[in-house]
Each structure stands twice: as C-alpha cells, then as structure tokens.
Symmetry: C2
Subunit: 188 residues, 2 copies
C-alpha cells in the first residue's frame, strides 16, 4: 500500500476545537517564509487533484481553508511566487523549496474569501484533522494504477474518512447554490 499522506497513513489525530491558530513555514533551511494563521482551519481534507502541493511520496495533499483576513505573511514574503496566475486558486509557493504556503482566489468563485493552506507546515498541534477525501479518482490521471483504487478507498474508510470523486456533498451543494444565485434562479 503506497502512502496516502503522512497524516493519514497511521490513523488520524483529532484536532483541538479550541485551537486558535499558529504559524506555517516553508521547508528552506534558513530565511523561511512564515505565514501566521490567527484561527484554526475549516474543511480540512485529503485532495487527490494534481495541483495541490503534497509531500514527496504521498498520493494525496491535505488542505484546509481559512478566511483571508485570518492569514498574513509575516516573514520572507519576497520568496513567494504565484505558480499559475490563471488557475482559480493562485498557489503562492516558496521560490526556493517549492512548498505552497497558501492558495488564494482572486476571481469570482464560490469559495472566494477563503485561503487554502497545509497545516503540516506548522509544528503546532491542534489543527483540525482531515474530515474527508476529495477528488480520489483524480490520482489515476496522475499515473496511479486503477487496480489499486479499492485499496485506496478502503484505507480512507479504515481511518474514518468518506471518499468523494469531487468535494463533499455540503461543499458541492454550496457550489451549486452559488451557481444558481449567479444565474438568478427563482428559489434563491
């Protein structure tokens, strides 16, 4: 069984509901980029998409969101660059070590106002644990053998995570609601 993610492979450690934030660091030996989060993350989840940063050897990223006003770059901001400014989520990565410090949405989008972050870049404990696994089938597009998918979904279930090939139902409903509101549907 390949690694899903270091924070999932050996079971999940529950977060602390009273945890109030902490600092993320890139993986450079010195002059680390420092990002300060003044709240816990929400909707933390494993993600199989090809664009989210993941640690070497892991099939999945683990990524959560936080309101933009709870995030600030507090050291070495000059080392950040945007990976792809045309992507819906502009991933701000360290130019030197490549780690993504935060992803920001700048265009109209149902999740605009939320930044995407990886709490494994913090040494603090208490961050919300992964709540579900998203975009699971997408790992096949990146070269994973489809024969292994039952094992992958089975392992997620074993550690208590539901698996989805898009986002979770509440998030998919939120996206659909946003789409309906933009098109002026009568119910909304």
């Amino acid at each position: 069984m390949p690694s899903l993610h270091p924070s999932i492979d050996n079971g999940i450690t529950k977060g602390d509901p009273n945890f109030s934030g902490g600092k993320l660091y890139c993986r450079c030996a010195d002059n680390k980029v420092e990002v300060t989060l003044s709240a816990n993350v929400l909707h933390n989840h494993a993600c199989g998409c090809s664009k989210c940063w993941k640690p070497r050897g892991a099939l999945f990223s683990v990524v959560g969101v936080i309101p933009v006003d709870k995030l600030s770059v507090t050291a070495n901001a000059q080392k950040l660059r945007i990976i792809d400014s045309s992507a819906a989520i502009q991933r701000n990565a360290c130019k030197e070590c490549g780690v993504h410090l935060f992803g920001r949405i700048v265009n109209d989008h149902p999740f605009k106002g939320l930044d995407f972050v990886h709490t494994e870049l913090s040494s603090e404990r208490g961050w919300q644990e992964p709540q579900f696994a998203a975009f699971v089938s997408s790992i096949i597009e990146q070269g994973f053998d489809p024969k292994g998918m039952d094992d992958v979904r089975g392992k997620f279930r074993e550690v208590g995570l539901q698996t989805y090939d898009v986002l979770s139902p509440p998030l998919m409903d939120a996206i659909a609601t946003y789409t309906a509101q933009k098109s002026g549907k009568p119910h909304l």
Copy 2:
C-alpha cells in the same frame, strides 16, 4: 417531499438478470418513434443533470447505457432530431412530443460506444433497476432549494441508492483511466 422520479418514489423494482431487451416508444399518440434494444441496459441510474430528459414533475432523470450495436430505430426515425449537436452526448428527441429516445456519443469520450436510454419509455418489465444517484447537487443549479438536499439524499438512501455529486466511483475511475491513457501515463 417532491418526486425524485416515478420509478424511485415508491421504492425500486428489481430488474430481471435474464431480461434480453425490448422496445422504447416516444409519447406521441400515433406514429410513435420506436427504438428496439436487443439487450438489457447497464449502469442504470438517477441523474440530476440539466440535460437528461426527465418526466414532468420529477427532479431526476433515470438513464442507462447500452452498446450502440444493440440499439436500432425501428419506426418513425424521421421524427427524431438532435437537441444539441455540440453536446458530448447527442440527445435524439422526438420533434413532436419532446421525449429523448437515445443519446449518442460521436466524439472521443470515455463512454463512446454506449448509447444513453430511458427504459421508462418501454412497457416491458425486467429492465435493470436504478443502481445509484448521480449529479445530485446539480438539481440546485436548476432551482431546487438547497435546504431540501438532506431530504433528497435521505430518500435515495431509504430506497437503497448511494448518492454522488458526479458519477459512481467505478465510472469516475473509468473516466480517469481514459484520461490517463490519452495522456500516455507510464502505469497504463
């Protein structure tokens, strides 16, 4: 609770594994378009997308697939027209009553070779029953009140159907495998 679909609202009737096909008819009073299927359908499912034909008052379509060589138009083919020839699935509908007789894929696509059909257009019994519910959150985009989504997903579960906001995991894996093969991934 609004109608999900007439074949689901009061529980599901199991199909006959030995059933070998039958005829579909449009809903015109006379000169009905007749489509003959020489096999049962596969992957029959409820679908919440906006493009599949659904009976009046139903929130969901019920649609299955059949290999193209098992489908033939056997009467009044001249009444068929393609709703949108630019869509991935070209839905062939009766010009008069509007019912979709079959949907065909003509461009490269993971499901090319399969036609999409609605077995409720047949008076025969034995067709495969719905296996799951797909694109559930999409009904919101068509004006369904998001507050009702728990009831909708709950009702599907009550009749024994899993709900997904895309297709089912095996079909999503098949699509991802097709995508990986097209891009020449090493594992495949």
